[in-house]
C-alpha cells in the first residue's frame, strides 16, 4: 500500500472534510465582519501595521474574500484556487499576529464595541488556530485525485 503521508493527501473524503471545515469556518468568520465593518476596521487599525489609507479598504474587502472563497470551497468551485487564496489570507494573519506577539503590541482602545464583538481572544490561541487551518488548506491544495462534490459524490475528470 502507499505510505501514510501519500494517503492523507490523496484521500478524497479527507479533502472533502477539509473543504467543509475551512469553508464553514471562513463563512462564519466573515459574517460578523460584514455586519460591522466599522468595528472590523478598528481592529485592523489596532494591529498598527497598515497605512491609514488602506485600513477601510482592507476592512471592506477581506470579509468578502473569506465569504466567497469559503463558499467556493464547499460547492467545489475552483476549490484549489480558493484554498490557495485562503492560505494566502491565513499566511497574512499569521505574519501579522506573529509580528505583534514578538514586539509585544496589543491594542486596547478601552471601548465597549471592541470588547463585545468577540475579538478579545488571546493572540496565541488565534495563531495556533490559524496554523491548523493552514494545514487544512495545504491538504486541499496538494490533493491530486478526483475531488468530490459537496454531497460526497465523485466528480470525474
Amino acid at each position: 500500500m502507499s505510505n501514510p503521508r501519500q494517503s492523507i493527501f490523496n484521500n478524497s473524503w479527507i479533502e472533502l472534510a477539509a473543504r467543509w471545515i475551512l469553508g464553514l469556518t471562513f463563512i462564519y468568520a466573515s459574517l460578523h465582519k460584514i455586519l460591522a465593518p466599522a468595528d472590523f476596521a478598528k481592529i485592523i487599525y489596532g494591529y498598527n501595521l497598515f497605512p491609514e489609507i488602506f485600513i477601510n479598504l482592507i476592512a471592506i474587502i477581506i470579509p468578502f474574500l473569506e465569504l466567497v472563497t469559503g463558499f467556493a470551497l464547499i460547492i467545489g468551485f475552483y476549490p484549489r484556487s480558493a484554498a490557495i487564496t485562503i492560505n494566502g489570507l491565513l499566511l497574512a494573519f499569521i505574519v501579522a499576529l506573529t509580528i505583534n506577539l514578538i514586539r509585544g503590541h496589543e491594542f486596547d482602545c478601552g471601548c465597549f464595541s471592541a470588547g463585545q464583538s468577540g475579538y478579545s481572544r488571546s493572540p496565541k490561541v488565534t495563531l495556533i488556530r490559524d496554523i491548523i487551518y493552514f494545514v487544512f488548506g495545504l491538504q486541499i491544495i496538494l490533493f491530486k485525485g478526483n475531488r468530490r462534490n459537496c454531497f460526497g459524490g465523485l466528480i470525474s475528470g
Binding site: A38, Y45, I55, N56, I60, F64, L67, R80, G110
Partner: protein
C-alpha cells in the same frame, strides 16, 4: 507550482469578492467610507460610517479646554467607560454611565439630572468612540447641552489634572 489557470481562477475569485464587497458596502446602511479617519492628531479615529449623521456633538479637543470648563463649574462630566475603569480613576465629581449599560442605567440618571444640565462626556481618548455614542444617546433622551471631551481620561491624567 502555480499554473496560469490557477492564477486566472484566483483573479476571478478575488474579482467576485471585490465587486461584491464594494456593492454591499455601498448599499448597506452600515457601510463605511473607502478611506477612514485614523490619525489621532486630527481627532477621534473612526472608519467614517457613510450613513448620514443625524446629530454631531460639540467636541472639546484639548485637556486644557476641558479643565477650563471643569473649573468654571456648573458642568457634569459623565464617564462613558466601564464601571471598573471608572472605579480605577476618573475626573473629580464625574458620574459613571457606561455606554454599554445605557438602557439599564438611564432611568436613574434621568431621575438625578435635569435635561438642561450642561454635560461633558468622555471615555478612553481618541481611539474610543464611546463618549460620542453616549453623547448621542443622551441627546436622544432629551439632554440639550452635551459635548464630548475627546482626549478622555488618559488625556486629562497626562496633564496632571486632579483625579479621584
Amino acid at each position: 507550482m502555480v499554473s496560469r489557470k490557477t492564477i486566472q481562477e484566483i483573479i476571478i475569485l478575488v474579482g467576485i469578492s471585490v465587486t461584491l464587497a464594494m456593492v454591499v458596502n455601498f448599499l448597506s446602511p452600515r457601510g463605511i467610507a473607502l478611506v477612514g479617519q485614523w490619525n489621532t492628531s486630527k481627532g477621534v479615529i473612526t472608519a467614517s460610517p457613510t450613513a448620514p449623521e443625524e446629530w454631531k456633538p460639540q467636541e472639546i479637543n484639548s485637556a486644557a479646554r476641558a479643565k477650563e470648563i471643569f473649573d468654571s463649574g456648573n458642568v457634569l462630566f459623565v464617564d462613558a467607560r466601564s464601571g471598573d475603569n471608572y472605579e480605577e480613576g476618573h475626573i473629580p465629581a464625574a458620574v459613571s454611565l457606561p455606554v454599554g449599560q445605557f438602557d439599564e442605567q438611564i432611568e436613574s440618571f434621568l431621575n438625578r439630572h435635569s435635561t438642561d444640565a450642561r454635560i461633558v462626556t468622555y471615555c478612553s481618548g481618541r481611539t474610543c468612540e464611546d463618549s460620542h455614542n453616549l453623547a448621542r444617546l443622551l441627546s436622544d433622551v432629551g439632554f440639550t447641552h452635551v459635548s464630548v471631551f475627546i482626549d478622555g481620561f488618559p488625556g486629562w491624567e497626562a496633564q496632571g489634572f486632579p483625579i479621584e
